[in-house]
């Protein structure tokens, strides 16, 4: 709270409004995302799907304790390890200790908002571990020393020219490419070798299925597939509200999330990871009956205020969110100032309302987004 109180929100809004690059980036991106979503919603009964998804999330959240126990049981049976952590420090410490025990020097990391929430990167870096963000947008903001400003487009606040300058400076390029294709290829080549030599991969999870112990990960770039499958240790980090009942439920969420988030019928990749794949050991071609796990898998589930939020009828709403980011693209304040002004660390908009300590309610997202009434306990006047 001191952190929020020490910032002058009015001045930040002014700065955002008078930053022509930011305004140009937001104008372009918000209109594009909003338009693409609109173009694909017509082909389905969106409202019916949305009601169905909400019912599924409500049912799952009401049984969260039971489903969590089921996830622990299933993943453990399938050769994985589950750590259920109460707060950010516990989750950070678990992953840092695992990295230390396995002698990890380099981590490749896919986009994970929970990792931003618990400040994982700095915790690993303080211990001398190199953390490489591999989602293109996340890599851009990592090189810039910034934080994500949108749920699904983390570098949405930057123009192409900003990115060209950034890559020239941080990668030491005298003559940087100017086309988006070439900039992307540059990152592909730079990160490929890091993928191949990483000791640990860290991902988030969009959904966790209690029935099967399956993680569902939604992406377009392919960095989640590489981060989860390539290194010898995979750590998936997620919030306990991501648990749903069955694999069949996932079909409903997948009809909604890509359409609403990016205007795609499906993203390029949806990974369903169930425990650890194992391979039968053969001895000169003969099966031995033994199996070995192809890699090590740890699922770290964080509470960090979610149980408290679940008990509050207003805050609970945020736990039903599937994080498509579409509300931001339609939000009058967000589309003018971008995500950094919210300081909601890291979720801009209404889904950032519940905080990690009970009943911490971050005042900015709760008040500065017109669609959300102030939560009980939230300050009624602006911190200045």
């Amino acid at each position: 709270m001191q952190r929020l109180g020490s910032r002058d929100m009015g001045a930040e809004i002014e700065r955002a409004l008078s930053n022509p690059n930011l305004q140009r980036a937001l104008d372009n991106a918000m209109a594009t995302l909003y338009g693409r979503r609109g173009a694909v919603l017509g082909s389905i009964d969106f409202e019916a799907l949305r009601r169905r998804a909400r019912e599924l999330k409500e049912r799952a959240l009401a049984r969260n304790d039971e489903l969590l126990a089921q996830v622990v049981e299933r993943v453990t049976e399938l050769g994985g390890t589950v750590a259920v952590t109460a707060n950010a420090a516990e989750a950070r410490d678990y992953i840092a200790a695992l990295a230390r025990d396995r002698g990890v020097r380099r981590v490749v990391k896919a986009k994970s908002m929970v990792s931003e929430e618990i400040h994982l990167n700095s915790a690993l870096e303080e211990r001398g571990i190199e953390v490489v963000e591999t989602d293109l947008g996340e890599r851009i903001i990592q090189l810039a020393g910034e934080r994500p400003s949108h749920l699904i487009v983390p570098a949405v606040h930057k123009t192409k020219d900003d990115i060209i300058d950034l890559l020239a400076r941080t990668m030491g390029l005298a003559d940087p490419p100017t086309q988006a294709e070439d900039l992307t290829r540059l990152i592909r080549v730079d990160l490929r070798e890091r993928f191949l030599t990483a000791d640990m991969g860290i991902t988030g999870a969009n959904f966790v299925v209690a029935e099967t112990g399956t993680l569902v990960l939604v992406e377009n770039e392919g960095n989640i597939r590489l981060s989860s499958q390539l290194p010898p240790v995979h750590v998936a980090l997620t919030g306990r509200e991501k648990i749903v009942e069955t694999l069949a439920d996932i079909a409903t969420f997948l009809e909604l999330l890509p359409r609403s988030g990016t205007g795609q019928l499906l993203t390029s990749y949806v990974s369903l990871i169930t425990g650890v794949p194992s391979t039968e050991v053969t001895d000169f071609g003969r099966a031995t009956g033994e199996t070995v796990h192809e890699r090590e898998f740890h699922l770290v589930i964080v509470d960090n205020g979610r149980s408290t939020a679940a008990a509050d009828p207003q805050l609970r709403e945020a736990l039903y969110c599937i994080r498509c980011g579409a509300c931001l693209n339609a939000c009058a304040p967000y589309t003018r100032v971008g995500g950094h002004v919210y300081g909601s660390d890291p979720y801009p908009g209404a889904s950032g309302a519940p905080g990690p300590t009970s009943p911490r309610v971050t005042p900015k997202p709760a008040r500065s987004t017109v669609c959300v009434p102030p939560a009980p306990g939230a300050p009624r006047s602006a911190p200045s």
Binding site: N28, A29, L33, L78, G79, T134, L136, I140, P154, A155, T159, K160, A180, E181, L183, T184, R185, I187, R188, L191, R192, L196, T212, T214, N220, E221, G222, N223, R225, L226, Q229, L230, P231, P232, L247, A248, I250, A251, T252, Q264, L265, L266, S268, Y269, V270, S271, L272, I273, T274, G275, V276, P277, S278, T279, E280, T282, V292, H293, E294, R295
Partner: protein, 182 residues
């Protein structure tokens, strides 16, 4: 026709698709991947790999072992084309699912610049819900990974400009295999 819709949907999202009779498959595949550098094939397609090799295609069967295996790492670095089998296709979105079932098909297919998937015509279904049911039955009690793949790797992280080929394959080609009598 689900096959026609599948091919049309896949092309709409930047993938390539073709349809070929089972008897014609080795010849058609050799033409498709022949001059494109090392083709790495998942163990379940071993006999097809032999046929491709007979036709002069530089071809290798992927190691069955997991992370840390030197043979696997060499394959991963050298593969220009990953050839794997698809489990189920979704006509409406042009999606193909690969895995689970051990081996490193998923990993190979994520790393190689081109991914070619063989999909039985009879394995194309109409909806995501139906495909999820197929996967669910496969998963029953098993560990492993399945990936729904819809077109090539892509991003719009720079000014919303659509760019194909970020970390995953730059090209995706699904070969729908028609089962023919005789």
């Amino acid at each position: 026709m689900l096959t026609d819709l599948f091919i049309q949907s896949l092309r709409a999202c930047g993938g390539e698709a073709s349809s070929v009779g089972a008897a014609e498959l080795p010849r058609a595949l050799a033409a498709l991947v022949g001059a494109g550098g090392l083709v790495v094939v998942t163990p379940e397609l071993e006999s097809l790999a032999l046929e491709l090799a007979e036709r002069g295609v530089e071809c290798r069967v992927a190691s069955r072992l997991g992370a840390g295996d030197a043979g696997l790492e060499a394959d991963l670095r050298a593969a220009e084309v990953a050839l794997t089998r698809g489990l189920v296709g979704i006509a409406r979105s042009g999606t193909v699912a690969v895995g689970p079932g051990g081996g490193n098909g998923g990993l190979l297919a994520a790393l190689a610049p081109r991914h070619v998937v063989l999909l039985g015509e009879e394995d194309i279904v109409d909806s995501l819900a139906h495909a999820m049911q197929v996967i669910s039955e496969r998963f029953h009690g098993l560990g492993g990974e399945a990936v729904f793949i819809t077109g090539p790797s892509r991003t719009a992280d720079i000014e919303m400009l659509s760019v194909v080929g970020v970390h995953g394959p730059l090209g995706l080609h699904v070969v729908v295999v028609r089962r023919e009598a005789g």
